[in-house]
Amino acid sequence: MKEHEFYVGLEGREVFWNIPLPISEVFLFSLTFIALAIFGYGIYRRWNMWKAIGKPEMRLDDMGRRVKTVLTELFLQKKVLKDPYPGVIHGLIFFGFFVLIFGAAFDAGQHHITEPLFGWTFLKGNFYLIFSFLLDLFGLFVIIGVVLALDRRFVKKPDRLGYKGKMDNTPDDVIVLLLIGVICVTGFIVEALRIHVTNPPWEVWSFVGWLLAQTFTGIAIDTARTLHQVSWWVHALIALGFIAYIPYSRLLHIITTPANHFLQSHKPTGYIEPIRDFENAEAFGVGKLDEFTWKQIFDSDACTRCGRCQDGCPAYLTGKPLSPKKMVQDIKTYWLENAPAAVAAKKAELEASGEAAKQNVFMRGLNKVDSVVDKAVLSFKGDKAPAEKALVGEVVDLHELWACTNCMYCMEHCSASIEHVPKIIDMRRYKVLTEADFAPELQLTCRNMENNSNPWGVGAHMRGDWAKELGIKTLAEDPSVEYLFYVGCSGSFDDRGKKISIALAKILQEAGVSFGILGNEEGCCGDSAMRAGNEYLFQALAQTNIDAMNGYGVKKIIAICPHGYNALKKDYPNFGGNFEVYHHTEIIAKLIADGKIRLTQPLSGTFVYHDSCFLGRYNNVYDQPRQILKAIPGLQLVEMERSFDKSFCCGAGGARMWMEEDIGERINNARTKQAIAVKADTIAVGCPFCLTMMSDGIKDQQMSETMQAWDIAELVVKAMGKEEIKPPVDACAV
């Protein structure tokens, strides 16, 4: 076909223009086949590796929801865009590439299917013009995305793309970006050369190619034709190379990351699968790689090292060795070291069982290919057996393992739906249950919980003492109350925490809410034990509470501690405790909205609300505490930079409340500084652990004169004008 055959009214272009057919086509098909074969084989090898190590786990329930999740994560880039700047860069490349691939598919579809089979062409007329415009636009997006990504990785160098100031860039990171960039640039060159030669007026719609073509005016037509052919082949070869390269590079995330979204847990946030059989197990938790489930290992293959997790990890940001990204990457590296041997072992098992002989020709062929590739890999890498390393203690350092506060920032923000916290708890279970090797102070905490059902070890008989003389009934006295107020250990034993209990009791009494407590029949919720890995103790504590609660026919529960709230709500159902559980801020917000309590007493000052992890990220209770504060007259409410789902942990979660913090800055001090930075004079909290941590932080920062920490319930009592103002005691006046 010659150039002059194009004319206005027949907008379109010839696919394979200037490319001598059919020899090129045959050549291209062969190359495509090879590229796809290399791609497919890579995925097959990876598949075998995914299958080779790990316990079984089913993640195929609720398919509708799973498909929906993948689609929203893919086409809305929901989690990726949670962090706008890198999210947009990724979006430019992702959406750009996606549209370009569709474009190529349209080209191929017309050329190889609709035209030869049905004589139907659709890349013409207005459709062609819009098609050309979009393809150029999205091609440009990709190039912009690649440039910004390179700039971010090599010029801006944000900390999260590294670890402790050292970037974790690999050659692969550059190769991948360059491949993508070069594919688009050569695509535009091919287009521009074609436009330069054929020069149809409508190609102004292919605006990038058209603009580029304007710079080619000096190139002779014949030269341009040759250049076109050369760049066409370069473009085609690199694009095919890209496909072949996917399974062997970070590009694999194109498959593993959506797969991981698909496979994500549908349990409530922070849910930890209990150990269900203590009697027959030899080891507990995860001490070896193959004690993880395959999905827990697969997670690490979905990790793109984006570092979103690290960006808000309270342990990492205060100088501890833990980085969720590093932990996941270390597990991945360890898995990659061990997977070949595991794959070989599975194959040998198959041989030995005689199953291998029953395989079809195709599989047997693949096995032959495998052995050739294995040998090649071996000769390339050398016959080095992976160093004998312990998963817990060496691959994952114990300081990393114990630094985690279970704050859930990593999982909330992971753009690949990786589940870090359950892995950490599984490894802690191994240290605590199987080895009984853990921090002495945490051992004491566990003993205290065992003997007196509270972490402090205060006599269990004193649990109900705070409520004496407040007119609060126990369920033993009146089991017909509407709500059980589950006080928890802080509210029962800690002097500061008791004030929260008293405040809430006053509010409930004032509002006429029917409630009671368990008194000395109440026990520790067990959250700290569970998150420390002491599942055995946790289940014993949980069962005692559940039996007491079910014994009184409890249906609705109010908790002042988000740790108990979360455990009762999400973990107790595993052991026969099914209750409607509310946090006191949920109840108080409702009482205010219903006009049951009136906040008439103004409080002055600048207030900041610190989101408790177990309330916010774990249970999505972000609004009620703020609604309450906004209902209090007089005060000015400000927000810290890290708030809502980006809130920064106080440092007490994940049993860290009971452990020494001797590496780096104290997390509670770091958080207090963030409150000081917004000039708050009151830190309002909804968690007794947070209250302790913030109070200590204020003391440490020597801000006690001008700054205070209060629980929301205490502030509400003040705003109700119900706070008893006790005159200073004058002993001599008596």
Binding site: P440, N451, A731
Partner: protein, 256 residues
């Protein structure tokens, strides 16, 4: 090496102790029972010796049926077997009877070293270890805070006021353990599970074969008197208040 650890079940240090109305003892209903903390040091030291030198650890306890829990705790920590001396005849046993009962049982067992707590935190008598050594005719090393095993003998450190004694004796011997000797381990879960299946030999008074008549009898149990309230010295002048404090310390408290 054959190691014996003697353990006693006592109320948790935080438990609320209520005296029975008739003064015949304490109310046991609500009490959380634990292993005597000083005995834990003994069990831990026994386990450390076993881990280093091989051998077997046997826990021996005198106590009612509930004391079995404490024996299981020691077995969960890693002890190999237990002997539970359990008979109502021992309900009113004093240190002398308990020491004799332990001695009678231990005589029937091979023993190179015997650990006891320096005292039990319930009755605080601190006599059983010493009496046991006497009953067995063995050397006794009491209030030990450090122990070095040297094949056929042990060297221990025993703090005394202002100094430490370094004592050496040949085995077998009785060692009573003081805080500082070690940090008792937390039982692993496999340990707890295995403990359920370890052998515990339950012996009644007849099997032990000793006289169970106590030398000392508890006449009556009474709660300690309530503490009198503190006194606040009032006045305007610090000097005047100091003088009053001095007078009270001399005349009322007789402290100076």
């Amino acid at each position: 090496m054959n190691i014996i650890a003697c353990v006693k079940q006592v109320p948790d240090t935080e438990a609320q102790i209520k005296v029975k109305a008739d003064g015949s003892g304490i109310e046991e209903g609500q009490i959380k029972w634990v292993m005597n903390p000083y005995d834990e040091f003994g069990v831990e030291e026994a386990l450390k010796l076993k881990e280093k030198n091989g051998g077997e650890v046997t826990v021996v306890s005198v106590g009612p049926a509930r004391a079995m829990e404490t024996i299981r705790t020691a077995l969960a920590m890693g002890a190999d077997k237990g002997v539970h001396i359990c008979d109502p005849a021992f309900d009113s046993a004093d240190a002398f009877v308990v020491a004799n009962a332990l001695a009678a049982v231990i005589k029937t067992l091979p023993h190179d070293i015997i650990f006891c707590g320096q005292r039990a935190i319930d009755d605080d008598s601190g006599q059983v270890g010493a009496m046991l050594a006497e009953a067995l005719g063995l050397p006794q090393l009491t209030l030990v805070t450090k122990l070095d095993f040297a094949g056929t003998s042990v060297k221990v450190i025993r703090p005394i006021e202002g100094a430490q004694l370094l004592i050496e004796t040949a085995l077998p011997c009785v060692v009573t353990c003081q805080k500082g000797l070690n940090e008792p381990r937390y039982a692993s879960l496999p340990g707890i599970m295995k403990a359920k299946k370890k052998p515990v030999d339950v012996k009644d008074a007849a099997a032990v074969g000793i006289a169970t008549d106590a030398k000392a009898k508890v006449a009556k149990t009474v709660p300690p008197p309530a503490r009198p309230p503190g006194k606040i010295i009032c006045g305007d002048e610090p000097a005047q208040k100091a003088a009053e404090l001095g007078r009270l310390l001399r005349e009322e408290a007789k402290a100076i």
